[in-house]
């Protein structure tokens, strides 16, 4: 009993020295990067840094012990400091954080400009958020006329609202949900977007698709491609597993072709080559062409994901369905697809994520969604030199969208996990 107490006590002095050494090392780095003050002035810069680094490693070595009285020291030892190498890595990352975070916060908030509405307001060293404020309408709505923005907002709310109906439907109507989402909802959404955003009837001003742009265009393109690529992909996946050779090899060629080429060449093709294939005088809108091209492209990927799910189902499921006297379509709609789709939710979510991340590529055909608008605003002679702010702004928006999508898909995966 006595021995043990003594052991802990000697350990404690060692621990305190270690903590002091680590704190000294970190504060040296911190003052150096934040205030440009050198604590170790008597050394040349490089040697000073190295010296404090070695002190830090020594500190991590000293605080390492089996058991300590201090709770947080135990936590540190267990999670970040269980051997010399891990202690070294921990110190490296702490220093990296201390060196990078202060300048980033400085740029983002402390020295940034938020006020004013012209270029002159931006005087500080930091970011110029005034630029984003002034251009925000363009980044969100593109070249769409200012007085008509309510139409985009309204249709956005309508489409989202109609999409949420499925959550509230209960009871008898529930079996029609799939039908609603696969057929009725896309048609309604298309009509809403066509009549509201395009205009031309009901006393609404006609706005050509060339004027659409910004974040709203990103949403429109990804929304339609999401809706279209899923059924096409499902048919292709079924086709690839079909026993009819013509359908099978057609699906295989189709899928492998689209998966083998980059999206940018597909868009090039739709812009420069496809018009040659249309009859004289026939004209397909750029936006429609882009949506078709991206949908076909992503459908090939969706098809491969669904095929994975179909292959993973045990043969017994097919046999059981057949022995009940079900035909091909009945078997697939009521037995096979519901199970297979459940298996491939993460894969499909990943494909959809890729689709959203691919939408900026439509700049190839001259449509400017948010990244395209940024590139245009960047070259405006009044607002030169704010590329960074623009990309950071778009990056934050895209990151929030994509991150929440991937988290949601993980949640779905857990929800639909049925034990076998």
């Amino acid at each position: 009993m006595l021995n043990k107490e003594k052991y802990i006590e000697t350990n404690n002095t060692k621990t305190y020295i270690g903590i002091i050494l680590i704190l000294f090392c970190l504060s040296n780095v911190f003052f150096n990067s934040f205030f440009n003050i050198e604590i170790l002035k008597f050394f040349p810069t490089k040697v000073g840094f190295l010296f404090s680094f070695i002190l830090g490693i020594l500190g991590f070595y000293l605080i390492r012990s089996e058991q300590s009285k201090l709770r947080f020291i135990n936590f540190i030892n267990l999670n970040t400091n269980n051997n010399n190498f891990n202690g070294f890595l921990t110190l490296c990352i702490l220093i990296l954080i201390l060196v990078t975070i202060p300048p980033v916060i400085n740029w983002f908030i402390l020295e940034a400009n938020f006020s004013g509405d012209s270029r002159e307001a931006c005087t500080g060293e930091g970011a110029c958020w005034t630029y984003i404020k002034v251009w925000l309408k363009r980044f969100v709505y593109g070249m769409y006329p200012n007085e008509e923005h309510w139409r985009i907002n309204l249709s956005f709310f309508l489409v989202v609202g109609l999409g949420l109906i499925g959550i509230f439907v209960k009871g008898k109507l529930k079996k029609f949900i799939t039908l609603y989402y696969v057929i009725i909802y896309p048609i309604i959404a298309f009509l809403v977007i066509y009549f509201l955003i395009s205009g031309g009837s009901f006393n609404l001003l006609w706005v050509e698709t060339g004027a659409w742009g910004g974040l709203s265009l990103t949403f429109i393109v990804s929304f339609f491609c999401l809706i279209f690529c899923f059924p096409i992909g499902m048919l292709l996946a079924l086709g690839r597993r079909s026993s009819l050779p013509v359908i099978k090899y057609f699906s295989v060629t189709f899928i492998e072709f689209w998966r083998g080429v980059p999206l940018i060449t597909v868009l090039f093709m739709s812009a420069v080559m496809f018009p040659l294939f249309l009859p004289e005088g026939m004209f397909v809108d750029k936006l429609v062409m882009v949506i078709i091209a991206i949908s076909l492209f992503e459908a090939a990927y969706v098809a491969e994901v669904i095929r994975g799910g179909l292959q993973a189902l045990p043969r017994g499921q097919y046999d059981a369905a057949k022995s009940l006297g079900m035909g091909y379509w009945k078997m697939y709609t009521f037995v096979i697809l519901p199970q297979a789709l459940k298996l491939v939710i993460p894969g499909i979510a990943n494909t959809f994520l890729a689709l959203v991340k691919d939408t900026p590529l439509i700049f190839v055909v001259g449509l400017l969604e948010i990244v395209g608008m940024l590139n245009m605003a960047k070259t405006n002679p009044k607002w030169l030199g704010f590329a960074m702010e623009g990309y950071v702004f778009a990056g934050i928006i895209f990151w929030i969208i994509c991150y929440s999508m991937s988290k949601y898909s993980q949640k779905l995966e857990i929800k639909f996990k049925t034990d076998r």
Partner: protein, 378 residues
């Protein structure tokens, strides 16, 4: 009958659609006085390309320009693949670390770069990050490396009789491969083990270096030298100049693809049950043997197929180069050459065929590999 009708309808539809398109294309092209053919490839291209690995001038043919673009694509894809693999390995293993800080840092890297569009990252590096770099006359340099807004200047090697050296490298790789098979056979027969890794490193070092002694190969290091044009402008001469387009594309591609590879590596290592390691340990293998003979072969079986897919994605994504004017095959051929000749169908089809053949080759390799490593069940 039930089987023939749907197939016949599909065939008919395909024929109708293709026929419709070809007919229209014929009519349109004859209306505009265009003719179909690939003879334009031999004509002089008469445009400049900023960055090229092989000799190229304005008098070179379109076919040559295509080759320049293709090599540039392969260059950025190859270097991107190597760096992305390194990043993926490091961060994939780091995500499984017992160190909480390291784990969170790796997770941050993966979640951050994976959820941003590649094009946005590319623009960020090219238009925002690399624009902060100094001008040539302001740069200080670091051991003969000069990083400027115009290019990254590094020392380069000027070779004499390079081919002999390269042949010897290929020769030594074949030698190692043969030797490895031979030693493995001996091991299977007599149970005797050889230090294969050390032998192959020695061969790889010794055989090519004999080119300097007997083959007459030699090289000199050429350093970039600053040349002042006026008081506030200058340039570097000599050495190797790596254009910022390449750097931006390389960084964006490898950082983006590295996240996916990291996830693959993590899934591969996590996919091996603890029982495997314990079983190996109980048969008396040591830590190194467990890793080499039990864990890695199984983990690689899970890791390699999706990772080859990522390599393929990286190669296809390198076509984004067109957005920042890095002269890859899309920009040079589907961009500039198409603008000049107006031969949309020919050029787009060649470009697509290029990517298709690359990806078919890679997926053929993948199928071969999958077959080779597949578990043969009894």
């Amino acid at each position: 009958m039930k089987k023939i009708i749907p197939q016949a309808i599909t065939l008919l539809l395909i024929f109708l659609i293709f026929g419709f398109f070809t007919y229209n294309a014929n009519v349109n092209m004859s209306n505009r006085g265009m003719e179909f053919g690939y003879s334009f490839l031999k004509r002089a291209a008469s445009f400049d390309i900023q960055f090229s690995l092989i000799e190229y001038s304005r008098e070179s043919s379109y076919a040559r320009a295509y080759l320049v673009g293709l090599l540039n694509t392969l260059l950025v894809a190859f270097s991107g693949i190597i760096f992305a693999t390194i990043l993926g390995l490091i961060f994939g293993i780091a995500r499984l670390s017992k160190n909480l800080l390291i784990k969170e840092f790796a997770a941050f890297y993966v979640e951050f770069f994976r959820n941003l569009p590649l094009l946005l990252q590319l623009f960020f590096w090219y238009y925002a990050a690399l624009r902060i770099l100094p001008l040539p006359h302001e740069t200080e340099g670091f051991h003969n490396f000069y990083i400027t807004i115009k290019s990254l200047y590094t020392p380069s090697l000027v070779w004499e009789n390079l081919s002999i050296f390269l042949y010897l490298i290929v020769f030594s790789i074949i030698l190692i491969f043969l030797l490895k098979n031979y030693l493995k056979k001996i091991q299977e027969k007599h149970g005797k083990q050889f230090p294969i890794l050390i032998i192959s490193i020695v061969i790889l070092l010794l055989v090519p270096s004999s080119a300097f002694l007997f083959g007459g190969s030699s090289f000199e290091i050429e350093y970039p030298v600053y040349k002042e044009l006026s008081a506030t402008s200058g340039t570097f001469i000599g050495g190797l100049a790596i254009p910022p387009e390449f750097i931006a594309l390389f960084l964006a591609l490898s950082l983006y693809t590295g996240t996916f590879i990291a996830e693959n590596v993590r899934a591969g290592i996590e996919g091996i049950s603890k029982g495997q390691k314990e079983a190996a340990a109980s048969t008396g293998l040591n830590q190194k043997q467990i890793l080499n003979l039990v864990v890695l072969p199984q983990a690689l079986r899970i890791i390699i197929p999706p990772t080859t897919n990522q390599y393929l994605n990286l190669t296809k994504n390198s076509s984004l180069a067109a957005a920042i004017a890095y002269p890859d095959v899309v920009l040079v051929f589907a961009g500039t050459a198409l603008m000049q000749t107006g031969r949309a169908i020919e050029i787009v089809s060649i470009t697509m065929a290029t990517y298709l053949s690359i990806s078919l080759a890679i997926s053929a390799f993948m199928n071969y590999y999958n077959k080779k490593v597949a578990i043969t069940e009894k």
